[in-house]
């Protein structure tokens, strides 16, 4: 019997090694190693053997089973690996092709810069407020210390509307609305659309965007204003900036300043961008005029403040080197898709 077992084992080992397909291999397994296979048949015959013979035959049977199973597993794994290889080899995909489906749109450059500056201010404790685009004469002028017939009204060509209203010429009216809403002390910004009655050309628009900023507290000095402006502009431009203040007249601040930054193109040496002065005019600012604080319901003997106005449209043009302001409200997707 041992001889027959060994003979079968030898034959089967050959068949396993030679199996050409997984199916062929499986057939051999069922025939020899299966529950009703040839080895199982030998097992049944064991009972008829003498104890001595049984031990010897059992060993031979086990050894044949182990070696056949190992050979089978090896062959099976080889078939699986080959199948996997073959599948992988078939599955070439050209991943350099652009993906189908939605190509994301883009945000308007003015939105981008507004968001950026808003979060910068938010991190410094400034609330973002909104005001109406159609304003009263009071909020746009009188409350800002620009009484009727004041020549300063000429500084801003105004769109007048029926009913004595107007399109706000700056975001400054939100100063008074903000003071009334928040009360002192306060830190606020107000970005938004403003209007001036100007002919449109590559550098002038009747509709543009500003950002008003204001801080009111017990003691606010020019030194504090300078600190915030330097910090803010450093954040916007992503590097340290050199600023300077010089006198500027705006009725709602006293003293009033024009803030210049050292030209970033030439570093202050003088170039066409800064008209060879080394400085670029960036924003008007100043300490809040006592009359404006009063209009906002704040006692100027107890509180002071600073305010500034940032031209967002100009900032966008500087950042993206846009040479014609009219692109911004053209609605032209050839332009807008670039952002």
């Amino acid at each position: 019997m041992i001889g027959r077992i060994e003979e079968l084992a030898g034959q089967t080992l050959g068949r396993v090694r030679e199996a050409g397909t997984p199916e062929e291999l499986e057939a051999v397994r069922v025939e020899v190693l299966g529950r009703k296979g040839s080895l199982a048949e030998f097992g049944k015959l064991m009972g008829k053997l003498s104890p001595e013979e049984r031990v010897a035959a059992g060993k031979a049977l086990n050894s044949a089973k182990t070696s056949l199973e190992a050979a089978y597993e090896l062959k099976k794994t080889a078939f699986e690996s080959a199948a996997l290889e073959a599948r992988l080899a078939r599955e070439w995909v050209d991943l350099t092709m652009p993906p189908p489906g939605i190509v994301p749109g883009s945000l308007h450059p003015l939105t981008r810069i507004q968001n950026e500056i808003e979060s910068l201010f938010f991190s410094m404790g400034f609330a973002a407020l909104d005001g109406p685009e159609v304003e009263t004469e009071f909020h746009n002028f009188d409350a800002l210390n620009i009484p009727p017939d004041h020549p300063a009204r000429d500084m801003q060509d105004t769109f007048w509307l029926e009913g004595g209203h107007l399109l706000r010429t700056h975001t400054s009216p939100v100063q008074v609305r903000g003071m009334q809403r928040l009360g002192p002390p306060l830190r606020m910004i107000a970005p938004g659309r403003v209007f001036r009655n100007e002919e449109v050309d590559p550098s002038h628009e009747h509709t543009f965007y500003q950002l008003e900023g204001m801080m009111v507290d017990r003691e606010v000095s020019i030194a504090h204003l300078l600190y915030f402006m330097k910090t803010l502009l450093g954040g916007i431009f992503g590097r340290e900036v050199t600023v300077r203040l010089r006198p500027g007249f705006f009725p709602f601040v006293e003293p009033g300043f024009e803030l210049d930054i050292q030209c970033m193109v030439c570093g202050g040496e003088g170039c066409p961008v800064c008209k060879h002065s080394g400085w670029v005019e960036l924003l008007p600012c100043g300490l809040v005029h006592p009359n404006v604080l009063r209009a906002g319901g704040i006692n100027p003997d107890e509180y002071g403040g600073f305010a500034f106005g940032l031209g967002l449209t100009r900032l966008v043009m500087m950042r993206y080197l846009i040479d014609d302001i009219r692109w911004l409200q053209s609605g032209d997707l050839r332009f807008l898709k670039q952002f």
Binding site: G105, L167, Y227
Partner: protein
């Protein structure tokens, strides 16, 4: 405002910096310079010359001239001036040799215009006497930065600033000894001192009217004022110097005394510029017994103007109320050099100084002139110089740096403030020319000290303040979230204008009455404020389809709706547009629905009976969130969009924000017991909305129904549609029994039948 460097250097002793540097200092300490420019460039190297001979040149209108120059000897040159003649004394400019009309022309003879002396370019300058002119440099100062400074509209005021900045002595061009003495020879009456606080007039006789000397013409020309004649030029000189506006009347054309009064309604005046102005009782006039002879502070009348035959002059030096002048000049659309100065609130103390200056200058330009008596000086009570307390501790807190008391006093005194030292504070007396409007509170003095000491000397300092998170602007945050969704869904943000035309409104059938009207539009087609963002959308479609076959865009902006009273209502809207050149348009509408759901997953779409002319009659739907109507999706009618398909989503962001805020954001426990599902296919008519069927199903919705989902649609050969829905039922506390599930299914089938549908 243009400032002559030569003029300033006459008023500031020892001015030792050049014009470029001076402009920089003025910018840093006083007002913004817009640049410097050389005036009279050709005067460099120019000299007098006498024409010795002129010969005609064949085939040319030019002549060949031999000239004897004072600096360069004899020269031959070509000259085309009609007045170039033998014996003429004129000006030679060396420019090198140039071939002109076949002749080597060495230099040129110059006209007054070429030399910058006047606008006269009719011929070469006819020179009498010497040519004592040099090229000047003009500093242009931004007018806006002078709005608050009446004194800086003249060279003397600017010279005071320069002298203070540089620490140099200031030269007063006025010597009051020149003020004529004696009783006034001009009768003057002021009706309203409120409108005319002071009127000073001086009579001059023995006047000879003629051209001004070259130095006077040149100086006026350099700062942009035109030369008229010697008398008028003196008034302009004083205007540009002191800067008191004055006026010269021909005394023989004035009937009786001068009356300063309001104009009569409809009163007319023929002005110096040849225009006739119709006045109202708001306007102030200078009148004689026959009527108005000038509009106060704005312009003189033609009938009383100085002419060649004038020999007697009434010289007016008056002060008018700023707002009144401004109102008149604005209404007449007539801004003059005088009105521009008066509207800044001129110093009433300056009128006599101008008379003294005039007496001196008249003598120079019209020798032999005689002042008759002294000035007639009529005025109301003139305000006393205000005194402002300046607390030095407060000053330090405002500036953010300490300045020594002596330095503060020095700065203020250099700017002509009076200063009394009161220990911790100063009592500061404001000079009259700064007291009219400019300086009235201590904050104004902070500026004076700050700008003089230089803002660059103030170091930035972080304020000590509590760290508090600012209140969040929910609306802005919401808008930004929507922007993010829209752009991620493929839509590009546009900004459109707020202005629309009546034609645009009519095109979309929006009633014109609902619009706020712009009274002074930039163009006639921008006279209304938009009550819908669709005008912009339509334009965006029309413009962009020239370049793209398919595109998507969106805008967040404000609709502005007129109200019976008060400010208009501003409604935030989001509009998104999708254009496809080809296709049946369905995909675009579906995409906009998906965009709406990306913003709020609960958005529902319901058919609407409301028909809008510009919408495709069968392709519009209202958008709801919860019970709130928040917007609309539609396709433009082919008559509005002839080619391609243009679909629009329009969301009203106010109600949308409210509806979204109302959605509970509370966690629901995940079910522990299995759910069951059953599908129902409903047979519906050709154009029955799936939403209607879903509603019918919903009407029988029991407690256990978790959701009703639309699955598919299938069109039958007879045109009817089979609409399939999947209903999910479950309970939180146990598994449903088969009977309960069947009961729910039966209830829904019943509801469907009741609504007139069949089960397939």
């Amino acid at each position: 405002m243009k400032f002559s460097y030569q003029w300033l250097s006459e008023l500031v002793e020892d001015l030792d910096i050049d014009a470029q540097e001076l402009a920089r200092r003025i910018t840093l300490h006083t007002a913004e310079s817009e640049g410097v420019e050389v005036h009279g460039t050709l005067l460099k190297g120019a000299c007098p010359a006498t024409v010795l001979s002129v010969e005609p040149i064949a085939n040319s209108h030019n002549g060949k001239a031999e000239v004897e120059t004072e600096a360069y000897g004899r020269k031959t040159l070509v000259c085309g001036a009609p007045n170039c003649r033998e014996g003429l004394r004129t000006v030679y400019v060396p420019l090198g040799v140039k071939r002109v009309s076949g002749i080597d022309s060495d230099g040129m003879l110059a006209s007054a215009a070429e030399l910058g002396i006047s606008g006269d370019d009719e011929g070469v300058l006819e020179l009498e006497g010497e040519l004592n002119l040099e090229a000047d440099t003009i500093i242009e100062i931004d007018n806006k930065s002078l709005t608050h400074r009446p004194d800086l509209w003249g060279h003397y005021g600017m010279a005071r600033e320069v002298a203070a900045v540089l620490g140099k002595p200031l030269v007063d061009p006025v010597s009051l000894e020149m003020l004529p003495q004696g009783p006034g020879a001009v009768g003057v009456e002021i009706r309203e001192y409120g409108l005319c606080p002071r009127y000073t007039a001086q009579l001059f006789e023995g006047v000879k009217v003629g051209p001004s000397p070259l130095w006077l013409q040149y100086r006026l020309e350099s700062i942009g004022l035109r030369t008229i004649n010697n008398i008028v030029d003196v008034t302009n000189w004083i205007l540009a110097e002191l800067p008191q506006p004055t006026h010269a009347f021909d005394a023989d054309k004035i009937r009786g005394r001068i009356l300063v009064r309001r104009a009569e309604e409809g009163e007319k005046l023929l002005a110096l510029n040849g225009e006739e102005y119709v006045l109202t009782a708001e306007d102030l006039v200078i009148a004689d017994e026959g009527g108005a002879i000038a509009i106060a502070g704005v312009i003189g009348g033609k009938d009383s103007a100085i002419g060649p035959e004038t020999t007697r002059v009434v010289f007016e030096s008056a002060n008018f109320h700023a707002s009144a002048v401004r109102k008149t000049s604005a209404r007449l659309k007539l801004r003059t050099d005088a009105s521009m100065r008066f509207e800044k609130a001129q110093d009433p103390h300056n009128t006599l100084r101008a008379i003294a200056r005039a007496a001196e200058l008249f003598e120079l330009v019209s020798p032999g002139v005689v002042a008759v008596g002294g000035p007639t000086d009529v005025h109301g009570e003139l305000a006393a110089a205000p005194v402002i307390p300046l607390d030095l501790g407060w000053l330090k807190r405002k500036l953010g740096r300490e300045i020594e008391k002596q330095e503060v006093i020095g700065i203020l005194e250099r700017l002509a403030f009076g200063v009394a030292d009161e220990g911790e504070a100063l009592a500061v007396t404001v000079p009259s020319w700064r007291a009219t409007k400019d300086i009235s509170i201590p904050d104004d003095l902070v500026e004076e000290v700050g700008r003089m000491v230089g803002y660059e000397t103030i170091p930035p300092v972080a304020p000590a303040m509590p760290v508090t998170p600012p209140p969040v602007n929910l609306e802005r945050r919401f808008y930004n979230e929507l922007r993010g969704v829209a752009s991620q869904q493929g839509f590009t943000e546009v900004y459109n204008y707020s202005f629309v035309s009546e034609a645009q409104a009519a095109r979309l059938g929006v009633p014109v009455e609902g619009h706020v009207r712009v009274l002074n539009p930039i163009a006639s087609d921008q006279g209304l404020l938009r009550t819908t963002l669709l005008h912009g959308v339509l334009k965006n479609f029309e413009e962009n389809r020239k370049h793209f076959d398919e595109f998507r865009f969106f805008e967040i902006g404000k609709e502005i709706h007129k109200q019976p009273e008060g400010l208009p209502r501003e409604l935030g809207h989001l509009v998104a547009g999708l254009y496809a050149h080809g296709g049946d348009g369905v995909a675009g509408l579906r995409e906009l629905q998906r965009l709406a759901r990306a913003m709020a997953p609960g958005m529902r779409f319901e058919p609407t009976a409301e028909v809008r002319a510009y919408e495709h009659p069968l392709r519009s739907v209202n958008v709801y969130l919860g019970e709130a109507l928040v917007g609309r999706i539609f396709e433009f009618h082919p008559r509005w969009m002839e080619e391609g398909r243009a679909a629009v989503l329009d969301l009203n962001l106010g109600p949308l924000a409210c509806a979204m805020a109302g959605i509970a954001k509370q966690y629901q426990p995940v079910r522990r017991y299995p759910a069951s599902e059953f599908d129902l296919s409903v047979l519906a008519g050709e154009r029955t909305f799936a939403g209607t069927v879903e509603k019918a199903l919903g009407s029988a919705r029991g407690e256990a129904v978790e959701r009703i989902e639309f699955l598919t649609e299938y069109e039958l050969p007879d045109g009817r549609r089979s609409l399939s829905f999947r209903v999910t039922v479950a309970r939180q506390d146990r598994t449903l029994t088969q009977e309960e599930i069947s009961a729910q299914r039966e209830a829904m089938i019943g509801a469907i039948r009741e609504a007139g549908f069949e089960l397939r």
